[in-house]
């Protein structure tokens, strides 16, 4: 077994992992960084983000307004000190990306342009046409190449964390091409592995978004926080779930049902705004949780269009005209043409809500540290407390930059005052991890992995989807428990060591099942409705008395997780009614 000593190991080389790595390389040049990713960094799912990144720049805007939008958008489950830090640093970190070359779209005078986004009172979303994540990721990857102290381990799969003496001391990774395991001995570790959208059948996520980091931390006793809050993006393509950015609506796109009616006005988001004149926090610029819920309501009323790819409504961009669509939404046009045979210049795009984002994740403090000494977590795999019960679109790309920077600094500071411990005990741990992995490779049961994966995704849609009830959540929990047993008896046909993707899918399926279980158990325990967690049984309203709390799921081997709760940090925004459309204006007066 190869043993590599480094100062900071970063698992995941998407937006947040790369940002952290650059922070360390620039400001702590004496430290070595191991940047580990199961894919080449530019394949990371940050690449698929379209709409943009929020940061206050306009004179008419303010940090307070960004704070208020975020906290009310999150249905008051946000850590308000974290939100404050975030809004104060967002524009600065987006500017940093600009200095590194990110091609943000500009106004005619050469200044940064911003677009409207759901739930945001002012236009504050920086965008690079509709490929914002792509440009951020490539800018960060390319900038990272300046720094020789960053050693990349591309296409290396994280098998486990090495915890000794109650602190993290390294990770065991598998070189996918060689089939060789390596021990990376590190003083601190940053988890930056992204979300877990693949626990659901219909999602906007890439195949690699399998909850790896969440599961790894969870299995080592770190709590997963607020996992019941799963974001459905209201506009995914039917069948594939491919994302049609919220920027479509920011630019003026509208949602219509089978009667050509802009149905959002029936659900507290109206009055109807004139075509081509989007109004912030009204109608199509409402928050994602509410707009996804409206689709479900319309479906109940029989107002959706039933096609071969399932039920849909229409996202209509035609009135924007070809020139604007080509300038602001070229990728959307390309995707709609390729995947549903629709040119949005001439036809409305069929869309439906699909799973998009995990608001919760590995619990961290306001400075990205987890409860496991030496372990930090950032980005979608983490719950730093920014998003609460519902994330506002364009806050997560800024999150990568803001908290990626902070985690880099924190992990570096910690590594500087820490010495490497003896390698021998770590090596022994690593040997055990490798033995366990080999045992999995030799699985010769009768269960087919593809079946377990499909049944998991379907039962998650069924029980912990847009609307939830006790009985169906319980059914999902039971199904997951059964699937976990079946997972013990899977068959892996491929026993080879070179680029054995069947084996990697098996490990990922294990990560997915644990994450799914944390989601379902956190959901059933929350006996109220808040943000993206909406129940239509007896707990259909928000209950601040009992549930103005973060949920914390703790892993129990071979048993259901234990769910505990912790307080929410409230600084200056007391919980109030969450309103959009005309009601939001009344409230302001």
């Amino acid at each position: 077994m190869q043993i590599i000593k480094t100062d900071v190991a970063i698992i995941g080389a998407g937006g947040s992992g790369l940002r952290a790595a650059i922070e360390i390389a620039e400001n702590y040049p004496q430290l070595n960084v191991a940047l580990i990713s199961k894919v080449y960094p530019m394949r990371s799912h940050t690449v698929a983000a379209e709409g943009g990144a929020a940061g206050v720049v306009q004179d008419s805007d303010s940090l307070d307004q960004h704070f208020d939008d975020t906290v009310s958008g999150g249905d008051w489950l946000c850590e308000q000190d974290v939100v404050q830090y975030f809004v104060e640093n967002a524009a600065k970190q987006l500017t940093q990306l600009e200095h590194w070359g990110c091609p943000w779209s500009r106004k005619a005078d050469g200044n940064i342009n911003v677009r409207a986004f759901g739930g945001m009172k002012k236009e504050r979303t920086w965008f690079a046409a509709d490929k914002s994540g792509f440009h951020i990721l490539h800018t960060l990857f390319q900038t990272s190449l300046k720094h020789p102290k960053i050693t990349r381990f591309d296409e290396h799969f994280c098998l486990d964390l090495v915890v000794e003496d109650n602190k993290i001391q390294g990770v065991v990774i598998l070189d996918i091409a060689e089939g060789e395991a390596k021990l990376i001995q590190a003083k601190s570790v940053i988890m930056a592995t992204g979300g877990a959208g693949r626990v659901y059948t219909y999602n906007t996520n890439g195949g690699i978004v399998t909850g790896d980091g969440m599961s790894l931390a969870y299995r080592h006793g770190v709590a997963l926080r607020d996992m019941e809050f799963i974001q459905y993006h209201p506009t995914g393509l039917p069948g594939s779930g491919i994302l049609m950015t919220e920027g479509c609506r920011g630019e003026g796109g509208v949602l219509i049902n089978k009667n050509g009616y802009r149905y959002l006005q029936d659900y507290g988001l109206g009055p109807e705004t004139p075509l081509g004149q989007p109004k912030n926090k009204h109608m199509e610029l409402g928050p994602r949780d509410k707009i996804s819920q409206c689709f479900w309501q319309e479906q109940q009323k029989g107002n959706v269009i039933t096609g071969d790819r399932g039920d849909v409504v229409y996202l209509d961009l035609r009135h924007l005209g070809k020139a604007k669509i080509n300038e602001r939404l070229p990728f959307i046009r390309e995707l709609a043409k390729a995947y549903v045979g629709v040119d949005p210049v001439h036809e409305p795009i069929p869309v439906r809500p699909t799973v998009h984002y995990t608001m919760g994740g590995i619990a961290t403090d306001a400075k990205t540290a987890t409860s496991l000494t030496g372990l930090y977590a950032i980005g979608e795999c983490a719950s730093v407390g920014l998003h609460g019960a519902n994330r506002l679109g364009s806050n997560s790309l800024s999150e990568l930059a803001v908290f990626g920077q902070l985690a880099g600094q924190q992990a570096a500071e910690y590594a500087q005052q820490t010495e490497h411990q003896a390698t021998q005990p770590l090596q022994e741990k690593a040997q055990k991890i490798i033995a366990r992995t080999e045992a999995l490779l030799n699985s010769n049961g009768s269960e087919k992995m593809a079946d377990i994966r499909q049944e998991m995704g379907d039962c998650m849609e069924e029980g912990v989807g847009i609307y939830r009830i006790q009985a169906s959540m319980q059914k999902t929990i039971d199904t997951l428990a059964e699937l976990k047993v079946r997972y013990q008896h899977i068959k892996i046909n491929d026993k080879s060591s070179v680029f054995n993707t069947e084996f990697l899918y098996a490990i990922e399926l294990g990560y997915l099942l644990d994450t799914a279980e944390a989601i379902a158990h956190s959901a059933i325990a929350r006996q109220e409705s808040r943000g993206s967690h909406q129940r239509i049984d007896e707990f259909n309203t928000r209950n601040d008395v009992h549930f103005l709390k973060h949920s914390l799921a703790y892993y129990q081997a071979d048993k259901a997780p234990i769910i505990k709760y912790s307080d929410v940090t409230i600084t200056r925004s007391q919980p109030a009614e969450r309103v959009y459309g005309a009601a939001s204006e009344t409230k302001e007066k």
Binding site: F134, H138, V340, A450, D494, T501
Partner: protein, 257 residues
């Protein structure tokens, strides 16, 4: 619209399509060999989805890279009937009822099955200094962003769209002959930074451009731009760099170092 969608989606359950994959597992196969599969035909199904069907239901040992399935992560490049394509953006409807042949990207060593060794390609991207090299009086963050007009952006925008999928290297006859050629994607990326108004690193990068394995290896076949799934047009980038390189040469003649 709805008729079109209905037509496109219709599952033609009784129809099948033949997919032939060039397999190679280095630990057990002496050399690559073709393996045929028959799968249910859906007009909407992408080549990537066909591969996923095969892996899930017919032969779990077939290996291929993929992730986003929306033509932006650049993972799933392969040869479809001998033409470099993204698996997620090529559809069975464009081949049916003919057999589809899938092979690993040409001009790259095969790691296993449809997975190629990307090391040389990645190294070439790394070597061209693909990052802003700022002027000496670099702006502080507190001074805000650099000004860059839409016209200035336009000069490099196209060359910043590369998803690093490698299709252009697979299409490039020159790279096929001589692996030391810097190649289309890396040169397009180089042009992207040289043409960015915020960058002051042109002179450093022109050393790479002017080398024999730089732009002058390109014989302007232009197939790289034909196969590019994102409209980057690396051939145009290389031609622009050739002009710059010629200027460098002329200036060098009159003004020796």
């Amino acid at each position: 619209m709805s008729t079109q969608a209905t037509h496109a989606q219709q599952a033609v359950v009784d129809k099948v399509i033949e997919i032939e994959i060039l397999r190679y597992r280095p630990e057990q196969d002496e050399k690559p060999f073709p393996q045929g599969f028959e799968i249910p035909y859906h007009p909407d199904m992408s080549i990537l989805e066909a591969l996923q069907y095969i892996k899930d239901h017919l032969d779990s040992s077939v290996s291929f890279r993929w992730s986003c399935r929306m033509a932006i992560c650049g993972s799933c490049g392969l040869m479809v009937n001998n033409i470099p394509k993204l698996g997620c953006k090529a559809f069975l409807r464009d081949y049916y009822p003919q057999k589809v042949t899938l092979e690993a990207l040409a001009n790259f060593p095969i790691e296993r099955d449809l997975v190629v060794v990307m090391d040389d390609f990645i190294k070439k991207l790394e070597e061209i200094k693909p990052y802003i090299i700022p002027e000496r009086d670099e702006k502080c963050l507190s001074e805000g962003t650099y000004q860059q007009t839409p016209e200035q952006m336009e000069k490099y925008a196209k060359f910043s769209m590369c998803i690093n999928c490698g299709l252009c290297y697979s299409a490039c006859p020159q790279y096929g002959l001589d692996k030391s050629f810097t190649g289309p994607a890396a040169l397009a990326l180089l042009a992207r930074y040289n043409r960015d108004s915020r960058d002051a690193g042109s002179a450093e990068r022109m050393k790479i451009v002017n080398q024999e394995q730089g732009v002058w290896s390109c014989t302007f076949v232009g197939y790289c731009s034909v196969v590019c799934p994102k409209g980057v047009d690396p051939a145009a980038a290389i031609q622009l760099l050739k002009v710059e390189s010629s200027k460098d040469y002329l200036i060098g003649m009159f003004k020796p170092d």
